[in-house]
Amino acid sequence: MRVICAIGQRGGAELIQRLVEMAGDKAVCLLLHVIDTGPRHGLEHYLRGPLHRRPYHGRPSHETAFRDAEAAASRAVIEEALAAAKQAGLKAEATVKEGEPGEIIVQVAREANAVLIVMWAREGAAGHPRLGPASVGHTARFVIDHAPCDVLLLREKDV
């Protein structure tokens, strides 16, 4: 069975361990990391706008720096997750995409004919309750609404 493990900036290794605990190591995993381009686009608009110093026009280096940082971060995410999969004896391959995370996850699931998407209910959990209203992040919410297959939302264990 084909399972998409959607991994954000952190928590990839734990997500895989939890999946193996629940479903064993028989699944074939596609580790998917989506670089959220929202904040970067927002920042680019911010830097480019009216009456601003417009460092952007003369500064391709920001753009390069943003992309380098994103590439390095996503490499680290994928390496961690692949190492965890290997340790658990799980068959896994990895892919990195960029865009709006929710939309990309759904699209990849459709293209790969996935039977299950596994992801955290909310990444970072910053200032939000573990259960109850607002405990599911907007990416996960979008995915449950639009996914062509079943979705498994993981919640943080402690607290």
């Binding site: 900036q9 952190r10 959220d36 929202g38 904040p39 970067r40 686009h41 927002g42 920042l43 608009h45 911010y46 830097l47 480019r48 706008g49 009216p50 009456l51 601003h52 110093r53 417009r54 460092p55 026009h57 003369g58 500064r59 920001h62 720096a65 943003f66 380098d68 940082a69 994103e70 390095a72 971060a73 680290a76 995410v77 709006e100 929710g102 970072g124 959990a125 910053a126 200032g127 939000h128 907007h138």
Partner: protein, 424 residues
């Protein structure tokens, strides 16, 4: 009795402000204010000779803007901002909280000496890259950079061009400036940091691996050291010049000249990039605003507004200061802080001289500098968050930013005004 001539003049002014505020058809602020100024000249509201003398009187403002932008651009080219961010990353030793505090400290220092826009527009992207690389949540750090750019912008006269704009009209040395604004400044910075650390406390629990810090590439080591040394000299010169009441534009222009000489010496001067990083349209914008405000002043409307303000407050200095700072903050949000500061300058100039008027000048600085944090509209430094907010997927951040502004700024304005009142 208002006649038609006065009404038309006032209308030109108000319509120009409305266009600047709403930017229909993406009309730029510079175009709007230039057209408004030309209409005022054609209508005879300002005599051309008078306009020239108004602009010549503001040479210090023009020189300061130019020098400041050039210094920031050259410092950026030398890699100063990257180095500071990298140092912050090293110092924090893997703790998101420590990194957050370090970003506040760096942001405060850059704002104090290189002004709010250096922090908002140059430090922000550098911090963004660093934080992305370290896989920490980016939004708290973005908020930190853009907020501290405004909150720390009344530590020194050079911390915000608006301060120069206002001080150019009233004078006042460094001791007076610090006397009125040092305590409010320290209080606001402290409150800003404490509140943000609390609001984003869950994000602050993360750790990163210091090994993930990107390798720092300094393309031209010697130019970097030269620039770092020159910036320290410029900082000292700023403080000395403010203390001696010398024009700060001279320091800014000489400083940028020194950095440029260094860039030529170490063969790193990229003229195209440097001129590209200076916003020339800003000069058209402020030129237009100077003429527009003078036109309205000639009609006697500023004096009337000033009397209204003083009458509203009655004989309570505290109330006057609160109204001034609050009004400047609101105006800076509704329109833009440059016209707001110019209107207040003009109003206060017609109000005569007294200790209360002097305190009102500093209350105006407080309001016009802090105000832009209130909402996302309104400042050279924060206007553009609006665009971010319109994007889907960031609604939570939108709401948070708005709540931050709405809760924190009034507290800062009220307490800041209290400090100024105590100094009276």
């Amino acid at each position: 009795m208002m006649n038609l001539y006065t009404i038309i003049g006032a209308l030109i002014f108000l319509v120009t402000l409305a266009v600047i505020m709403m930017r229909p058809y993406s009309i730029s602020e510079a175009l709007a204010s230039s057209v408004g100024a030309v209409l005022m000249l054609l209508g005879g509201y300002v005599h051309p000779g008078e306009a020239v003398s108004v602009l010549l009187h503001e040479w210090n403002v023009y020189g300061f803007f130019l020098g400041l932008m050039a210094i920031s651009a050259l410092a950026d080219q030398a890699g100063i901002f990257e180095m500071l961010a990298y140092r912050a990353g090293r110092w924090a030793r893997g703790s998101a909280l420590r990194l957050y505090l370090a970003v506040f400290v760096v942001g405060t220092g850059i704002t104090a000496f290189l002004s709010n826009d250096a922090t908002a527009l140059i430090l922000t992207p550098v911090v963004y890259s660093l934080v992305t690389r370290l896989r920490l949540p980016v939004m708290p750090f973005m908020f930190a950079c853009t907020f501290i750019a405004d909150t720390a912008s009344f530590l020194l006269p050079v911390s915000n061009p608006i301060n120069i704009l206002i001080l150019n009209a009233f004078g006042g040395g460094l001791p007076t400036f610090l006397g009125y604004l040092l305590l409010p400044g320290l209080f606001c910075i402290g409150l800003n940091i404490a509140l943000f650390v609390w609001l984003f406390r869950s994000d602050m629990k993360f750790n990163y691996s210091p090994a993930d810090l990107p390798e720092l590439k300094l393309p031209r080591r010697q130019f970097f050291y030269f620039t770092a040394t020159a910036l320290v000299l410029i900082a000292v010169a700023y403080i000395t010049a403010s203390a001696m009441q010398l024009p700060l534009s001279i320091v800014a222009l000489c400083g940028s000249g020194l950095l440029m000489a260094g860039a030529i010496r170490y063969r790193c001067l990229n003229v195209g990039r440097l001129t590209g990083e200076i916003t020339w349209s800003l000069f058209a914008f402020i030129t237009g605003m100077f003429i527009l405000v003078r036109a309205v002043e000639n009609l006697g409307l500023m004096a009337a507004f000033g009397r209204l303000l003083l009458n509203l407050a009655g004989d309570s200095p505290l109330k006057t200061l609160l109204l001034t700072a609050g009004g400047a903050a609101l105006g800076a949000n509704l329109i833009n802080n440059v016209p707001m500061a110019l209107v207040m300058v003009s109003v206060l100039k017609t109000a005569g001289t007294s200790p209360v008027i002097e305190a009102m000048v500093y209350a105006t600085i407080l309001g016009a500098d802090l105000g832009p944090n209130l909402t996302t509209v309104g400042s050279l430094a924060t206007m553009l968050w609006l665009l971010i907010l319109r994007r889907k997927g960031l609604e939570i951040s939108t709401l948070k930013y708005f709540q931050l502004g709405v809760t924190v700024v009034p507290i800062m304005i009220v307490v800041g005004s209290l400090f100024i009142w105590l100094r009276l």
